[in-house]
Amino acid sequence: MLFNSYSFIFLFLPVGLAGYFALGRGGNLAPVLWLALASLAFYAFGNWQYVPLLLASIAFNYGIGYLLVERKLRPKVRFAVLTAGVAGDLLVLGVFKYAGFLVANFNAVFSTGFVVHILLPVGISFYTFTQIAFLVDAYRGQVARYAVPHYALFVTYFPHLIAGPILHHRDMIPQFERTEAKRPDPHLILCGLIIFAIGLFKKTCLADGIQPLVGPVFGPGSPTFDQAWIGALAYTFQLYFDFSGYSDMAIGISLMFGIFLPLNFNSPYKATSIIDFWRCWHMTLSQFLRDYLYIPLGGNRRGPVWRYVNLVITMLLGGLWHGAAWTFVVWGALHGAYLCINHAWNRFGPDVAPRLRPAATFAGAMLTFLSVVVAWVFFRADDIDSAIYVLVRMADPTRLALGRVEIVNLAFIACYAALAWFAPNTQTIMGYDHARRTVGDSLAQARLRPWFLYATAAVLAFGILGIQQHSEFIYFRF
């Protein structure tokens, strides 16, 4: 089920909210169970065949967590239990996500003809990663005792289940335990609705609106210089508003249930460096990779050379996390290289004179954006040859179409760029503060001005009116 579907907006969400708050009058546990069951139903709607896998994953990880938290095991045994838990998770992820990729490469190298058809369970990366973090923290002694329903809800919680953000148990489970969250809070529901409306608008009106410009460039066609740039930029903004819209919708939906989700997206195209970009794009993944991969690899503690090696390894694996294909490996490698260059520049580059700082910041933002666009070409292309084909066209200004269609499309893209670069983001508009668990304070103080109310109501209406038959989140199948 998609957030941008009539069935979700007019059936699933109202029923989910009504059941949650109705049961909330009777106690603290029933609404948690309701929400967990609703989340399973949400997952089962499009992926019913993988519900047993999800349940098995929850049972397995909760069992491993129980051994690490509750039982007084010797250090070596504890480590062995953690190893078994993480290995089990990675094995399942590897089989479902990477078996086909490995077999295809094996066939290519050894000219064999093995066939593997395994469908990727939606959300498997998210629920696997959240649970790996849980196991590692349990091993480190950073996990208190959690009830099964709360743990199950933490893993399956539907606003995040299929496309993130990656949740952390220390952030979420205490929220699920709060009694106040089980009572309807009109302020949170209104703020949640407005955030959802903005996200829906980004998805249905902006991301889906620019989608037609992308396909022709990455298909079997032969784009000119300007057409190739239009396609690459259109994809750059499609992905931006698609993912940003999804993140907003997830936060908005969760807020209606009284639960604050972490920010996952903070205007990344305004970044002035690649380091900055990765602090703003898919923020929870960046944090996960930093805390559970880059730092355990040694981070920057073993000297500058190892720092660069660890960065590249982290980004390569981050690339592979996005998809089992060589294009994602190249995308990850490019970002690893960008980060190395950025860190090296920070260390060895000259200091910028104060009067040149605005120009340097502008140049940094442009360079960052162009680097990201080039990397997105690999992210989007079917294979490396196709990506290089598009990039070659982007580097060949001698082939120029610049007809009426191209000019209109460029104007279209300029509007998207203006929105991405100059418009305030949703959390700024709404005053969303995940750490302080506050939202819309300034709106409440100002008694919600009518123009803002009707403008956001129109945004919700246009978001719903913009729902199309052919729409799928592109930052989705992980």
Partner: protein
């Protein structure tokens, strides 16, 4: 009720009001003419035929349905009527597959046409999703289901089109808006049903269709980076299944309708590209023809024509915009051949034209 609850209610009511206004506008203007023929606003048409056909079937008079892919998209209805007789309705859809074509034709059968002129080729029978999983075809509009009609009425994109049509119907605004109307921005820019996807009268045919373009397309599709697309979807078993499900079952269900089926005159370069870069796909094409032709000719209401081996057209590359799409002049020839019964497949020798095609493809040598 608390003040914030009142604000929440106002917010929801305001959203609902805007959506209802959009639905009312769509119902009144009815850009697709699903509910009534265009009045009081002049009819405008869209080149998005998968959507537009649902309205055409409801609003246009016809006794002949004309179906096909992009190979049959530029025909003009008045040419079809003049050469073949009757009152035609062009339903051809660019890039369409047999499941889509059969579904749309099935909807058209509710209007009891006497004849179907159907451009078939092997490519349309590739494996395709169920019609309800087809993200490009609004099946609910054809079935007139509640969800389909609600999707039409509560569509923001349609409301924008309705506003545009409404503004264009106002006499003082009409000339300016007509100049601004463009298929780049709006989906309903066509004022005459006969112009849907037809090339404009001032179209430079010689520039659009010539040997240079045909050879450039040939080089492009046989480029090693691209050539794998040539074999996409060519699986014999799947093609036969789709053929039986979509073509044969429709013909069998409508014994009173005459089916004029033709295989279009691709340029020989298409088959040569397959011969050189995707030989297994070419074999599948041949095998599929060997299955499909005798099967089609089992039906007395089918008249089958095969134009793929009409050498004077298919070897003259000046007729082509790429390796398969032929010029409007060939469109007219196709209609004349159909009217004259030329190149009809003989029921006693259903594979004769296929054998001629094989010989031509084997013998063809590229000019370097």
């Amino acid at each position: 009720m608390s003040p914030i609850s009142k604000i929440l209610l106002k917010f929801l009511c305001a959203s609902a009001f805007i959506m209802l206004m959009a639905a009312a506008l769509n119902f009144v203007v009815d850009p697709l003419q699903l509910f009534r023929q265009a009045r009081p606003f002049p009819a405008m048409y869209s080149a998005d035929t998968r959507m537009q056909d649902a309205g055409l079937i409801r609003s246009q008079p016809f006794d002949t349905a004309f179906m096909g892919t992009s190979l049959a998209i530029h025909f003009r209805q008045r040419d079809i009527d003049r050469i073949l007789g009757g009152r035609s309705l062009k339903l051809s859809m660019t890039g369409s597959n047999s499941r889509e074509q059969s579904f749309v034709l099935d909807a058209a059968m509710a209007r009891h046409p006497k004849r179907v002129v159907w451009q078939l080729d092997d490519w349309i029978f590739r494996d395709t999703p169920e019609i309800d999983s087809d993200i490009f075809l609004p099946s609910g509009l054809y079935r007139r289901s509640a969800a389909g009609l609600a999707g039409y009425l509560f569509s923001g994109q349609m409301a924008r089109e309705s506003l545009w049509i409404l503004a264009r119907s106002l006499p003082p605004l009409e000339p300016a808006i007509a100049r601004l109307t463009s298929d780049l921005v709006f989906k309903f820019p066509i004022a005459d049903v006969d112009d849907i996807n037809a090339l404009p009268p001032d179209y430079d045919v010689a520039a659009g269709y010539n040997a240079r373009k045909a050879f450039a397309a040939f080089r492009h599709i046989t480029d090693p980076v691209r050539s794998r697309y040539l074999a996409d979807g060519y699986e014999y078993e799947a093609m036969v299944r789709a053929f039986e499900r979509d073509a044969i079952s429709l013909i069998a269900r409508n014994p009173d309708v005459a089916f004029d089926i033709y295989f279009p005159p691709y340029s020989v370069l298409q088959f040569v590209a397959m011969r050189d870069a995707a030989p297994s796909a070419l074999k599948t094409v041949y095998d599929f023809t060997a299955y499909a032709f005798p099967r089609l000719l089992q039906f007395p209401n089918v008249r089958l024509s095969d134009f793929r081996a009409v050498k004077e057209v298919t070897h003259d590359l000046e007729n082509y915009g790429d390796v398969i799409h032929h010029s409007p002049a060939v469109d007219l020839k196709v209609l004349q051949w159909l009217a004259q019964g030329k190149y009809q497949v003989d029921r006693s020798a259903p594979l004769a034209s296929l054998e001629r095609l094989k010989v031509q493809v084997d013998a063809y040598r590229l000019e370097r």
